[in-house]
């Protein structure tokens, strides 16, 4: 584990030999039909088991497990908190005759604040201030609170933070605690994001009995508690049209590009040879019914830190065994660098804009990966 820690980057560098890396890269970059080590298609996810509401002490919770035994548990807890208004806002409300004063006041009450959502990620083997947990929690929190809604429909649409407003003086504070149960075997982002999504879907807040600007008090009957993200009524059945009209929490997909191929949900070995790694957060657009992009972040591809392979022609321990003209360097179209086939070279440089556009398009397109994932998650029974 020491080498994982030493690499301060957000990505971990698995120990793979240059020959393995070269084999993986050339398999995954086969034009049109990449061969993944586990035989999946490029857009296929690993099958997972999911359940929700497993923790009675929380407002919402979920567990997801992969077949390889890695599991994540997410618990969501909500607390009522007094809204602290900034001095400036208060001062302005007291006096002053700004034209748009009323409007601004309104936005302060309805807007909500990003700091009301607190997220912590616990990964065994990492300190809570290591780069990986910090990076992951910032990445997931950002898309969660960042989903800016349109002003008109501030009641239901928009990001999570607007839903947490009770009235001008009170709000909910949401604690999202993510627990990975074992040392991650792969980059844990997809697992954590899917689990958080499910936990938020199952989150319920007590029904409010007070009205308007009163100090809030709530119905203590848990059965009438309301979902944080309203669900389609069970009687109408789960059809596509009803499902898409509700706002859903975002989900963050991990996408890699290898050669000309774009691959979703990569495992540890696949990510080790990726040319580029992107974390793409998407959600359903409540108006258009399509998917929209919330955030993109590049993740440092571990392939930059790998050990290079030595071509036979330069291998000291094989001197004289090969004819010197044997290895002809070939231009790799994806990286723009000369490479001897069969010899691993650590990736250098960045990613082309066209590749990024293609990756986002694959995730967002109608009937594409993003929709399938969101539909799959929607289908999970929320008890």
């Amino acid at each position: 584990m020491s080498n994982q820690r030493q690499a301060s980057s957000a990505s971990q560098v698995p120990h793979l030999s240059p020959a393995e890396l070269s084999y993986l890269y050339s398999s995954l970059s086969l034009p049109k039909t990449p061969i993944r080590p586990d035989g999946r298609s490029p857009t296929q996810f690993r099958p997972l088991t999911a359940e929700t509401n497993i923790l009675p002490g929380t407002n919402g919770s979920a567990r997801i497990g992969f077949a390889d035994g890695t599991q994540a548990i997410v618990g969501v807890k909500a607390e009522v908190e007094k809204t602290v208004l900034a001095n400036e806002t208060l001062a302005r409300n007291d006096g002053g005759a700004g034209l748009d004063r009323g409007e601004q006041e309104g936005s302060a009450a309805v807007g909500g604040h990003g700091s009301w959502v607190q997220m912590s990620i616990e990964i065994p083997g990492f300190r809570d201030d290591d780069a990986l947990p910090v990076f992951l929690s910032e990445m997931m929190r950002e898309s969660l609170v960042g989903a800016v809604g349109t002003r008109e429909a501030s009641d239901m649409a928009g990001g999570l933070k607007e839903r947490l407003v009770i009235n001008k003086r009170w709000h909910w504070r949401l604690y999202i605690d993510v627990l990975l149960l074992s040392q991650p075997l792969a980059y844990p982002l997809p697992l954590l994001s899917l689990t958080t999504h499910l936990a938020l879907l199952s989150t319920k807040l007590p029904k409010r009995k007070s009205q308007g600007e009163e100090d809030p008090f709530f119905d203590d009957d848990w059965a009438v508690a309301e979902y944080l993200y309203p669900r389609p009524s069970l009687s109408s059945g789960k059809t596509n049209s009803t499902g898409s009209s509700f706002v859903r929490p975002p989900v963050t997909l991990l996408v890699i590009s290898v050669g000309e191929n774009i691959i979703f949900d990569p495992n540890r070995e696949e990510i080790a040879v990726a040319d580029a790694v992107l974390a793409i957060s998407i959600t359903r657009d409540s108006e258009a019914g399509t998917l929209k992009l919330l955030s993109i972040r590049t993740v440092d591809p571990p392939s930059r830190l790998t050990q290079p392979g030595v071509p036979n022609s330069e291998n000291v321990s094989m001197l004289g065994a090969v004819a010197p003209t044997e290895d002809v360097a070939v231009l790799n179209p994806a990286t723009g660098e000369e490479e001897v086939p069969g010899v691993w070279r650590p990736r250098r440089g960045g990613v082309k804009r066209s590749v990024i556009a293609e990756m986002v398009k694959t995730a967002l397109k109608k009937g594409g990966v993003g929709e399938e994932v969101l539909e799959g998650l929607e289908g999970v029974e929320v008890s």
């Binding site: 980057s9 400036e88 992107l278």
Partner: protein, 318 residues
Amino acid sequence: MMADRRRINGPPGGTRPAVFASNLQSGTSATDRAQRQRQPSELRKIFLKTGLIPTASGSSYLEFEPSASLAAARANPKSLIPPSSALKLACTVHGPKPLPRSAAFSPNLVLTTHIKYAPFAARQRKGHIRDASERDLGVHLETALRGAIIAERWPKSGLDITITILEAEDDRWWGSAPDSHDASWGMMNVLAGCITAASAAIADAHIDCLDLVAGGVAALVSDDSASTSTVAPKLMLDTDPAEHRSILSACVVAYMPARDEITELWLKGDSSKASLEDGDDRTGHEALIDGAVDAARGAHAVLAEAVRESLLKTVGQA
């Protein structure tokens, strides 16, 4: 939550200087908000100089030109509070130096990045311990630089990059409600500055890199008042968050012009409602990325000139 486990901390946050009502009056009306006076595609001027810190193997200092409104406010103060702030940061590079004995063998240069806000950098005082956002920035910077340096030229060695932010960009206009656009847009400008400065410092330290990697920011802003909210947001380069009522989406890239490649991309916010010119069939996020790349090209010009300047100076001295 992270806290220093070794000492007893003072109360979080800081004290504010007394603000007198007479000053406040003039400062709070929305008309006093700084207005962007640049064209949408016009960048702020950048001051960049390398080799200022003699003990480091490479260093640089970067400053953004203060916005026009800030300059005006300084010349003719109407309020005690400056309307906006400008980015100032210093970057030092130490290394390449041998890795500690305990470290595992690495065939590549091992990069570590530290970004720290000076306690006085922002309007809210920052503690001395790095918080989550500073660590997050460090990861972003590392990703940006690792794609640019040729790490296998320096096996078994380490490179430390430390950036101190002396003055940070605001996330919003100080007079706006704290939630009007509460995402940390200023952080993206800071990151772009960090990338450009670190790239200059690396060049100053004579570390092999593929190209000078430069940072650029573009954002979708809607400046109109609420009554005309139907107007679609516009794309602007190098935005100062204090000058805009509402930023819908922003993007920062680290870009290498010579290879036309992006080593780091960070985009957030809703970019689906961008209003582009007719005949422009790019989607919002593509336009945003292209805008940020254009901004980075501008920064690259400054960067290349600054590095050349310091080189010529050393050549002249020799």
